[in-house]
Structures are given as structure tokens and as C-alpha cells.
Amino acid sequence: MGGDKTKIILSITPPLLIIILLFYGGIFYGLVQSLGYQPAIGKYEINLDAYYNILFSERYAKLFWTGLALNLWVSFVSTFLAAVLALFAALAIRKTFFGKTVCNFIYSLNLPMPHLVVAVGIIFVFSQSGLLARMLAQLNIIASPGDFPVLVKDKYGVGIILAYIWKESAFFFIILMSVLQSLGENFEELAQSLGANRWQRFRYVILPLVMPSLFSASIIVFAFSFGAYEVPALLGVIYPQMLPVMAFEFFLNPDLNARSEGMALSIIIALIVMILVIFYFWLTQTRIRKD
């Protein structure tokens, strides 16, 4: 028994050290800076000025609240649509042989693609000087490429949402396929023999079975898209601006005093994601139990 214990302690120490040092260490350091403690420029006082500035000052409040609204909108819409698309795709093709192989292959290809590449792809295809706009102009469907609707760098974040759907639906799809495969068809056949129609089989058999994994995948995708920088940096506008981009701009500001605001904003983002994830957990736990 004692030997087992040492073994466990030995094997979990390296990952724990990394998590504690790098992750919590980084967060702690950020937290301290967000409170105004910056010895490099002779600031030793601890205060909440940076948080106040971000949330309420005339200079930043409007940027912050519009940014937060955009963040919530983009994350909710892209997570929801990607999940729904993947669910229907998975249900539609899981029983076909050829379709399944092809779709699995296409979606798996999508998975290792960096978000950065997807974002650039979106620019190439959907921007006003992009492939689609030029093609439609060539075909005389629109008069000039400039008449193409603004889908990239637009204030509603359509381009960002498109990029996330493109990327994350593959993630959902692969998780759903493995769940559906492990379930087999017994449940459905049983329901069918008891007289359940297609809709009833979907609503009362399949959905409750895939819901737990769909929800946990949604949490991952939501938290990721809420805090990710590169896609909104490439596809976003300068106002309203998503919060991670705003935080990074504070960080890059050569005026070191602005660093506290950048860190405060990052801590706020982390807090919001944490609260939403806890809320989401609570919601799914109670909902799933009821079903």
C-alpha cells in the first residue's frame, strides 16, 4: 500500500508543479499587477483603480460593456450553432457507410487546423475583396466586389462566428460520433418497437443520451471562444472590440501604467468565464437529472 502511495505522489507531482507554478503563478502575478503593484516603475500601492477604470470610467466603460456584449453574443451563438450543426450532421450520416467515412475524414482534417489559418481563410473567402465577392462580381450577380455584404470585420462579429462554427462544429461532430457509436442502436430499436416515431426517438431517446457529452463539449467551446484572441484580432472591428483583444492592446501599450488595466481586464474575463461555467454546470446537472 505504502509503495502505491509513493508511486501516486511521484507521478502526480510533475504535472501538479507545472499547473501550480505556471498556471496559478501566472494568474497570481496578473492579479497582483491588476491591483496596481508594479515595482519596475516604482508602484507599490495596492488598489482597485484599474478595475474601476475598466468598469466605470468615462474613457473605458463604453468600450468594456459593448465588448462584453459582443463577447457573450459571439460565444453563445457560435457554440449553439456549431453544436446544432454537428448534431444534425452526426445523426444524418451515422447510419450511412460511405457518408460517414467521408464526413469523418473531412471533419478530422478540420480539427488540427489552427484557428489563425481558419481566420485567414475566412478573410480570403468572405471579405469584400475576397474570393466570393470577386466571383459574384464576375458573374454580374453584384455590380462590384464592394457591393458584397460586409461579413468580415463587421460590428456584429459575423466573421468571427463563422470561423468558430467552422472550427468547433468539427470538434462537436467527432465527440458526438464516438458517443453515438458507443451507444449502438439497441435503445432506438426498443423505442421503435414500443411505437415511438422519428421525432419521439430523437427527443426522448437520442437527445438525453448525447446531452451530457454535448454539454461538456459546449462548456469547452464556450470558454475557449470567450477568451481566445487570434480570431477576433484578425476578423474583428476596432469598435465594438472583443475583450481578449482589448486586454492584449492594454498589455502592448508602451505606457507601463496601462498594464494594470490590461491585467484587470484579463482577470475579469477569467472570472466571467468561471461564473458562466459554474452556472452552466449547475443548469445541465439539474436539467439532465429531470430528463
Partner: protein, 415 residues
């Protein structure tokens, strides 16, 4: 009587002290001392690495003579942005790396990045006036001794210069139709709706800030009154008129002014894609460097307003913990050699920037010939150098920069 004796003693001691402790730079008694300590070492040069032309220029024109004439190995470290080097020095400071224990010997720097390091006491110096070639530098020119309006104080030494002006595509527009003032630009914008935008004034978009700053100069009747310390009253008097003008453009701007490009790269791509007809350049060679790089169409040309075109210098700075300060000094001195300065202006060498020295201060024949040859080869992608020289004004106190960026956001973007 005694007092006079003491005074004389004092004078003698003072004179003697001045002679014996005369330093060319902190820690070095003479230039020979610098050369001796630099020999056989390596110099780590941290610089923005986004241009193959500039990288190649540094390797060929500085790396070779450093090796052959001074026995110094050049180690050029490319950066995505200068701020990366600033953050590294800052981290080294926080980690307690002092003396010559750092990694960076030189940073290609100016403006706010310089101010960040200077503000945090992270620079070595003053050293610039001690370099033998500093005799070619126009230290009495405010565009040189002030960096974005903040005193250089010998903590950085110039490399090259830049001046704001514009580009157009000669395949799309005519040189003669180009606006030559902000008043004419206003008319041009309403005559060409959707064909103009400017870089958002803000971090990473200082060229846009500069574009807006020049409007202050034109509306207020000239740049002269803006030189000197920050003047809130003057700013408050003209700012509303500037925002009014910018807002009056909005409906005729690209995308109706709903968004703006945030840096040079975005602006160039809008111009190259044919979404807008005017672009900004900072190079005395006009559209030359971007045409060569392929970021603007090869038919692009330059033009300047007749007044109020801000010019500035960029510099080399040495971090407080540079591992080889002697070699850094040799490098900073080398780049000011008149013939190497002429080489960086010579278009065939692909460098994008202008003079770091005052060419009038060069007296030897070889230097003068190289300078004249470079001036004559600027080519048709550049604006007439006389127009640029006449329009040249220096940048102003840095406080205006932050204020303009914040107020532009509040009064134009968010209004």
C-alpha cells in the same frame, strides 16, 4: 586670501577631475578603450524583422565591416515588434538581471518604446554624444533631440529618418489630381465617396495619430505654435474643430466610417485590393519600398501635402544590462558613417528609410559623392525631395499623442 586659495585649489581639482574622468560613455575612458574591449566579442542586435530588405542590409552592410574591421560578430535577432524587446528587458529587470548579464545589446527603437525604457531607467547611457560619428548628427534639431516630443538625453543614437506622406496608384489616379492640403483632401473625399480611410489613431497605429495631428497644425494655421511643452489650452481650442472635420468626412469614408484599419498592414491591403485610393507612407523613397515588397501595386507613387508633413528619426538604444556594451557602441557609431548612410538611402540596397545624419555636416569628398549619388537615384516612386523638405515639421510633445488617441475614440469612433 585663504578663500581665494581654496577657490583656486577647487578649480584645479575640478579641471583635473574633468580630464582624468572624461568618459566617452559610462565605463569607457576613450574610444580606443571601447574598440579594445569590443574586439573579439559578439553584438546581439534586436530589431523588428518584418522586412527582408532591411534584414539583408544590416547583415551585409554592418555585419561584414564589423567582422573585418572590428573583430565583432553580428548576431541579428528578428522581432515581431519592438515591444517584444522592451518586454524582455522589463522581465530581466523584474528577475534581477543586472550588470552585463542581459541578452540584448542594441534595440532599434523610437517613440513610446524608448519612453517606456527610459521611464523605467532601463537604458545604458548617456552614450550618443560620445560616439566619434555623432559630429554628423544634427543634435540641435528638435526632430533629432526630441523623440516623439520627449528628450533623448543621449540615451539613444540615430539611425535613419522617416516622414509622413501619401501614396496613390498611378494606374488609377493622376499625380496632378492629388490633394495638397487637408482642405483639398476634404473636397477629394466628398468627390470620391468610399475611396478613403485613415489608420485609427491608437496603439500600433501611430501613423494614424500623426495623420490627425497634422490636421491640428493646418486648422490652427501652422505647426510652430505647437512646438515646446504641452499646452492644454491650445489643444482644447482646436480639438473640437478637428473632430468636427473628421466627423464630416465619415459618411464618405470607406465602410461609412463604421470601422477603420488599425495599422499600416491593413491600410496597405485595402489600398492594394482597390478598396481605397490613397495610402500612407513614411519612407523618403515614397512607394519604392512597398512596391518592391509587393504590398502595394507596382504602379504606386508618392505625393505630399505642401505643408505640415511630420518627420522623425529612429534610433539605437542599449539596455542597462547589455552583455557587450563596447560592441554596441561600435555598432551605433558604425551606422552613422556617411558612406553607410548613403548606402541606406540608395534604392538598390532596398532599405526603406532616410538619413540619420545631417548630410550638410559631411565634408570629405568620398562621403559627399556617395550622398549625392544616393539622392540622384531615388526614382519615380518617390515624391520630389524639395516638396518633402519644404513640408517637413517635427513631432510635438508626447502628451498630445495620448490625448488625441483617447479623444478621437470618444469623439469620432464612439460618438
Amino acid at each position: 586670501m585663504n578663500k581665494i586659495k581654496i577657490f583656486i585649489c577647487y578649480l584645479i581639482v575640478l579641471t583635473f577631475a574633468k580630464f582624468s574622468f572624461a568618459e566617452v560613455a559610462p565605463g569607457f575612458n576613450s574610444w580606443d578603450d571601447v574598440l579594445g574591449k569590443a574586439k573579439g566579442g559578439e553584438v546581439n542586435v534586436y530589431m523588428w524583422g518584418g522586412s527582408d530588405a532591411i534584414n539583408g542590409f544590416v547583415d551585409d552592410f554592418y555585419g561584414v565591416p564589423l567582422k573585418n574591421d572590428y573583430g565583432i560578430t553580428l548576431n541579428r535577432v528578428p522581432l515581431k515588434g519592438t515591444v517584444d524587446a522592451v518586454n524582455q528587458v522589463l522581465s530581466e529587470k523584474e528577475a534581477g538581471v543586472t550588470g552585463d548579464g542581459g541578452n540584448i545589446d542594441l534595440i532599434w527603437i523610437n517613440g513610446e518604446n524608448f519612453w517606456t525604457l527610459k521611464q523605467a531607467n532601463l537604458l545604458y547611457g548617456p552614450f550618443a554624444a560620445g560616439l566619434p560619428n555623432s559630429e554628423f548628427v544634427a543634435w540641435d534639431n528638435p526632430a533629432v533631440n526630441l523623440d516623439f516630443g520627449r528628450p533623448v538625453d543621449g540615451m539613444e543614437s540615430p539611425w535613419s529618418s522617416a516622414q509622413f506622406h501619401f501614396m496613390y496608384d498611378s494606374a488609377r489616379s493622376n499625380y496632378d489630381d492629388m490633394p495638397r492640403s487637408y482642405a483639398e483632401l476634404s473636397d477629394w473625399i466628398s468627390a470620391n465617396p468610399g475611396r478613403f480611410t485613415y489608420i485609427r489613431p491608437g496603439k500600433g497605429g501611430f501613423v494614424g495619430t500623426r495623420f490627425v495631428k497634422q490636421i491640428f497644425f493646418e486648422l490652427s494655421g501652422g505647426q510652430a505654435q505647437w512646438v515646446g511643452p504641452f499646452n492644454q489650452g491650445l489643444y482644447d481650442q482646436w480639438a473640437p474643430k478637428v473632430w468636427e472635420l473628421l466627423n464630416s468626412w465619415e459618411k464618405d469614408l470607406w465602410r461609412g466610417g463604421e470601422t477603420y484599419p488599425k495599422d499600416n498592414a491593413e491600410m496597405h491591403s485595402l489600398f492594394a485590393n482597390g478598396e481605397v485610393d490613397l495610402d500612407f507612407t513614411q519612407s523618403p523613397r515614397g512607394a519604392g519600398p512597398t512596391n518592391t515588397a509587393g504590398t502595394t501595386p507596382p504602379t504606386s507613387r508618392a505625393f505630399a501635402f505642401y505643408e505640415n508633413m511630420i518627420g522623425d528619426f529612429n534610433y539605437w538604444a542599449i539596455p542597462y544590462n547589455a552583455p557587450n556594451k563596447a560592441a554596441a557602441l561600435v555598432y551605433a557609431n558604425l551606422v552613422l558613417e556617411p558612406e553607410l548612410q548613403a548606402a541606406q538611402v540608395q534604392p538598390a540596397n532596398g532599405f526603406c528609410c532616410g538619413w540619420g545624419i545631417s548630410t550638410a555636416k559631411v565634408t570629405d569628398a568620398a562621403g559627399q559623392a556617395a550622398i549625392a549619388d544616393a539622392q540622384n537615384n531615388l526614382g519615380d516612386a518617390a515624391e520630389d525631395q524639395n516638396i518633402l523638405a519644404k513640408a517637413l515639421v517635427s513631432d510635438i510633445a508626447a502628451e498630445y499623442q495620448d490625448l488625441i488617441e483617447a479623444d478621437w475614440e470618444a469623439n469620432v469612433l464612439l460618438k
